[in-house]
Amino acid sequence: MPSPQLMRQGFNIVLIGNFNPVIFQPQWVAAHGLLRQQEADAAEVKVIHPDVVIFQAEWVKFHVTRDRFLAGTMQEAFFNSLADLVIGTFQILQHTPIRMLGINSDFHFRFDSEETWNEFGDRIAPKEMWRTLMGKPGLLSLEIKGAREHSTAPGYVRVQVQPSAEYHPGASINVNDHYELPGSPDKPIGCSEIIKILMEESRASREAAKNMTQRILMTPGEAR
């Protein structure tokens, strides 16, 4: 089967903790040197509200609520910069209580034909049993969770495979690398542990997600 073509990748970092959303504004980020001033000036602010802030700078989107921080980009040239941006932000806000970290990669592929696309869908989610239960069964979403292989940091990996909403015939593969801090989830610790994990794991997580995605797409013949 010809390899599906990678059309785009995304990378985002999600933190769960206690945040004050109104801090996270483009000018604040630029004032600390974490974004270029021109990027901050040109940023599109969608919402600034005590409970939620959403803005989009040229290559990065911030989406912050009282309990969730997300920064994401779809520009591969800025994947490292995104990690630096989040690390830098919480080196400044070092007393922010944070409990969990998600390092997430997503990939959108286009298949060369609907036939190969359907073959892929059938391979990862065999339909034989479902055909006995319904007509024309189709995969809407497949989600698998398991232990992380590329590091021993606490948490898990969750992979979601779906038809791509952007490319047809296509598939999107989302890899959620979830990290939890040791200790009780009711007792959040400050940021330093999370930032340390992010510094140590960011690159390895992206690489592992890429490798995993390539293996998901391989046919059994290619995998041998």
Partner: protein
């Protein structure tokens, strides 16, 4: 390559110098499967550091056989992979330059540990070494005229000794001052720390096994100061050393590392010289003049790897075109296996060295 994997005999000295074009390391068989490692480099972009890979190729258990690991200085080309070497050679005593046993150097290392560099340059390898020390491993620090190892070869009963001949006190003091200057102030930007270009704190090593003596020059340079560099060794050493028959030529054969008194006083007439080239950057070493100078002083000169083609080749046209337009120069680092191996019986110090050349090494 058939002989490559055959190890030295128990009563045989081996000096293996690796110099793939960027990077240098030396493995020394002291007799009876007792090995010393000086520095580390990588022969390929991934995989084990050269010393580990070589000992494994010889079928030697490096976790037990290596008794000494010396890190001569902290330049990239001498320490790539050294933390792995230290970690795996569990029985080895580890020796660092005394310039690094300094509050200010350790402060720099600890500071940069808070913001690790995503790249395999700079202090990263040393930060790993320090983590090993924090888990209980003991380190020794080399200064001028310090005995690092002594004893006798159990197989032949021949006495052996390893000395450090540098750094001098003056060089160490200057380095410590430099580390203090490099420590940032509050509100200063977080840049990575690159090793200062000075080589004056490099550890020069003298190995004596019976009547065989070897001088390993690291990257020490000649400095116009009697208290530092080669002058300090030649004029101030109290060890009375002489008659080394092999020289690992310092600092890739550069003119700046040449001191005539080293050749007159520490070496036999026409010793065997080994040079590791440095092919990175705008000024590769050794230059043709350097080679001629060293040949004029040596019986034989071996260079661990050939000068390499430094033209970059890109798979993608857009990359090739952008690199061409955005850069004045672009030099890929091509790794080879450049390796000069010298062997001789411990009991035959007057015999010629048996020389083998691997992976692009050649006689000049």
């Amino acid at each position: 390559m058939d002989n490559y994997r055959s190890g030295p005999r128990s009563d045989e000295i081996e000096i293996s110098v690796f110099g793939p074009g960027y990077g240098e390391c030396i493995l020394f068989h002291l007799g009876s499967n007792n090995w010393a490692i000086i520095d580390s480099c990588m022969l390929s972009d991934r995989g084990d550091p050269a010393p580990i890979a070589y000992l494994r190729d010889l079928g030697i258990d490096y976790t037990k056989a290596v008794s000494l690991v010396i890190v001569t200085h902290w330049h990239d080309d001498h320490i790539r992979g050294i933390a792995t070497v230290i970690d795996r050679c569990q029985k080895a005593e580890v020796v660092l330059s005394a310039a690094l046993e300094s509050r200010d150097f350790l402060r720099l290392a600890k500071l940069h540990e808070l913001n690790p560099l995503p790249l395999p340059f700079g202090l990263e390898e040393f930060i790993r070494i320090l983590r090993i020390s924090e888990s209980g491993r003991k380190f020794k620090f080399a200064i001028a005229d310090r005995l690092l190892l002594s004893g006798s070869d159990p197989g032949t009963d021949v006495p052996l000794s390893v000395f450090s001949l540098s750094p001098s006190d003056a060089a160490t003091m200057r380095a410590k001052k430099l580390f203090l200057e490099l420590f940032p102030q509050a509100n200063q930007r977080k840049d990575a720390l690159l090793a200062p270009s000075t080589n004056e704190t490099a550890v020069v090593v003298w190995v004596g096994i019976g009547d065989t003596h070897v001088l390993l020059g690291a990257d020490l340079e000649e400095i116009a100061d009697p208290d530092r560099g080669w002058r300090a060794i030649v004029s101030k050493s109290t060890l009375g050393l002489s008659n080394a028959s092999v020289l690992k030529v310092p600092h890739h054969g550069s003119r700046s590392s040449h001191n005539a008194q080293v050749w007159n006083r520490l070496l036999i007439p026409e010793p065997t010289s080994v040079v590791t080239p440095f092919t990175r950057g705008a000024n590769p070493l050794p230059t043709p003049d350097d080679v001629e100078r060293i040949k004029g002083l040596s019986g034989k000169v071996y260079i661990t790897s050939m000068p390499q083609s430094r033209k970059a080749v890109f798979q993608s046209r857009v990359v090739a075109e952008f690199v061409k337009s955005a850069t004045r120069s672009f030099q890929p680092l091509k790794r080879g296996r450049g390796h000069v191996r010298l062997r001789r019986s411990i009991l035959a110090p007057n015999r010629d060295w048996n020389v083998e050349l691997f992976g692009g090494a050649y006689q000049a």
